[in-house]
């Protein structure tokens, strides 16, 4: 497949934004500036980037506890994201969600989810809504290898398949569910193999190669959009950081992580490919990096300077009080 320079730059900008955003969040968390806990997406950037490059603003996604990458790739505002992670009132959720619950409904990002496997059926429902309203929107559900062992996975895939709904189920198989290695909890070699149980295509792709992800996602999204029904797309990737920031990582060796970092880092892979083929120059990449770093610093600055929610905001946003609902008051 041929990619334009703009597309290539776009891929790198998104992947590099996710990487730097996450590195910054990591440091800020360790410095005690971020409350709660955070799950980083470092090492998995090519998946969100390659998939989202096929989506329109009006398409839907559902995300996970490890959701910053999806949110950035869908086009969210870094300032409002960072402010949310800080618990500030200028954040996407006015400080009520935090890292694990960022959403931006204006770009079809229906939310990260603190419940593993909580997003499958939300995506199925959004796709059902698209069907009932006669639009050609597509819903993409991101989920982990661990989530694929929840009943919601099986119910959601069956329902989407039997109703031929426009859903793409994207499994980010990062080899671990918290401390549990994938093969000790899962009966199949590939999660995509489970697609056969629902009569839909199951596709395995190298999740550390943004081009491969892009192509596989393109086919799945087109299939969904044109009425062909759902696809189960499994991206094999690797979680380079701990399950959460502060994870002692007793379940794997430093050496294992180091090998992935050296030999299969999606950003390195990308650089090698585009530089090797003379499609982009070091300088062009450096320009992108400089711009991204500036944007992220601006986001951190914005988050730091933003106010916390006021006490009276505690009770806001629970019920809709206006409009037709008023008849129920």
């Amino acid at each position: 497949m041929e990619f334009s320079q703009e597309q290539l730059k776009g891929f790198y900008r998104t992947m590099y934004t996710i990487r730097s955003f996450e590195e910054r969040v990591n440091d800020l968390f360790l410095a005690g500036e971020i409350p709660g806990f955070v799950h980083l997406y470092i090492g998995e950037e090519a998946v969100a980037t390659g998939v989202m490059a096929n989506l329109r603003k009006t398409d839907y996604i559902t995300s996970t506890h490890r959701g910053h990458g999806h949110t950035i790739a869908k086009g969210a505002d870094l300032k409002r994201m960072m402010a949310e992670i800080f618990g500030k009132r200028t954040g996407y959720c006015r400080g009520k969600g935090g890292s694990m619950h960022i959403a931006d409904f204006s770009i079809g990002m229906l939310g990260a989810n603190g419940v593993v496997g909580g997003g499958f059926n939300l995506a199925v429902g959004a796709a059902l809504a698209a069907r009932l309203m006669g639009t050609d929107q597509v819903a993409v559900c991101f989920f982990g290898d661990g989530a694929s062992n929840r009943g919601t996975f099986h119910e959601g895939l069956n329902m989407a398949a039997v109703w031929k709904l426009p859903v793409v189920f994207v499994c980010e198989n990062n080899q671990y569910a918290s401390t549990t290695p994938y093969r000790t909890s899962t009966s199949v070699e590939n999660i995509a193999d489970r697609a056969i149980g629902y009569g839909i295509p199951g596709v395995v792709v190298n999740g550390n190669d943004v081009f491969a992800v892009y192509e596989a996602a393109q086919a799945a999204v087109e299939r969904a959009r044109s009425g062909g029904g759902p696809t189960l797309l499994e991206a094999k990737t690797y979680r380079i950081k701990g399950h959460f920031v502060g994870d002692p990582e007793l379940y794997r060796t430093r050496q294992e992580v180091q090998e992935h970092l050296e030999n299969d880092d999606p950003l390195k892979n990308f650089r090698q490919q585009v530089l090797g083929a003379n499609r982009l120059t070091e300088r062009e990449l450096a320009e992108i990096e400089a711009q991204v770093r500036e944007d992220i610093e601006a986001a951190v600055d914005f988050a730091r300077k933003s106010p916390f929610p006021a006490p009276e905001e505690l009770f806001e946003d629970l019920y809709v009080e206006s409009g037709e609902a008023a008849c129920g008051k």
């Binding site: 499958f120 959601g156 039997v162």
Partner: protein
């Protein structure tokens, strides 16, 4: 006024709202081809098509989850749970998704969705098809909970629930589906959050709802023969609770009994009693009494089932203990 059954009243509400707003659709198990286990959906797919009145796989989790997803994406789903007992299978979707999504995301979205759940013990359906679980949802911020006792409220509350922009749980007692009663013609809404004084009295307030309301009214009649005048309140909505109506009555009668079919322990009666005790205990001339089901699962045998459930006599006895 014309009389129709509770089931017909809910059907009218569905049809009118689906007619009025094409974002409203209905899904659940065995609702389209069969018309619902209690006949409460008969004829709807013929009117609105099998897309908008959808039979689903037996996947309670997916049905409720997809309802939430569809609501987020602009639809107004009505989801039937078949039996309230099966809501357990979808508890994450109800409690962690449906109820919390709006708040957790800072008010960016809304979940205009109705979960309909037939409940109550009837004709030896035994432990897993007989429960009344409404009290669970009193404990979860973000939900509204309504529970009609008659055909008119069944219609008015269902229409109000469908038009509400918040997630609403709509509990409908299985034995009430056949009940006939007057229902106004045409547009008719019952506001969510408003209880109703269905019988006036000066000596004791009996707060009840759903099928037990009828037992409370029978108890009131018998008590009247003995000179005790009970005021009977039909809550109709349990979240948000209409404290105003309850308090006004209790301040007048100075005595309070709460009666419902759900297990007494941790039931809605506990909440009503607590609120009254907390805010207006000085008006009371005696202890508060709760009448509810015994603390056992619903038994199968016709010899046992009625023993487990609260009866008219239990309500009378509770009143006499404090009056």
């Amino acid at each position: 006024m014309r009389e129709i059954t509770f089931a017909e009243a809910t059907m009218e509400a569905m049809a009118e709202e689906m007619e009025r707003d094409n974002r409203v659709f209905l899904m659940g198990e065995d609702i389209a081809r069969q018309g619902g286990i209690f006949g409460q959906f008969k004829g709807l797919p013929q009117k609105f098509g099998f897309d908008r009145v959808r039979d689903t796989p037996i996947s309670e989790t997916a049905i409720v989850g997809a309802g939430v997803g569809a609501a987020l994406a602009g639809m107004r789903p009505v989801v039937d749970m078949h039996f309230v007992d099966f809501i357990t299978v979808a508890m994450d979707e109800v409690v962690n998704q449906m109820a919390k999504i709006r708040y957790m995301f800072g008010g960016q979205c809304k979940v205009p969705m109705v979960l309909r759940a037939p409940d109550g013990a009837a004709r030896s359906a035994a432990a897993q098809h007989s429960q009344s679980l409404e009290a669970w949802f009193v404990h979860v911020p973000g939900l509204k909970v309504v529970i009609p006792s008659n055909p008119a409220d069944a219609k008015g509350l269902l229409k109000a629930a469908i038009r509400d922009d918040n997630p609403v749980l709509y509990f409908e007692n299985k034995d009430l589906f056949r009940m006939k009663g007057p229902v106004p013609d045409g547009e008719f809404l019952v506001p969510i959050g408003k209880a109703k004084v269905v019988r006036e009295g000066r000596d004791v307030t009996i707060v009840s709802y759903s099928i037990t309301l009828h037992k409370a009214l029978k108890a009131a009649e018998k008590l009247a023969e003995e000179g005790i005048e009970a005021e009977v309140i039909d809550l109709r909505t349990i979240v948000p609770l209409d404290k105003e109506t309850i308090f006004a009555s209790v301040k007048k009668t100075k005595h309070l009994v709460i009666a419902h079919e759900a297990t007494k322990n941790g039931g809605v009666g506990s909440e009503v009693a607590a609120v009254v005790a907390e805010e207006i205990i000085d008006y009371l001339d005696g202890p508060i009494k709760r009448v509810g089901a015994k603390f056992v699962p619903v038994p199968f045998s016709p010899a046992l089932e009625p023993l487990m459930l609260p009866q008219v006599e239990d309500i009378i006895a509770a009143v006499k203990e404090i009056c």
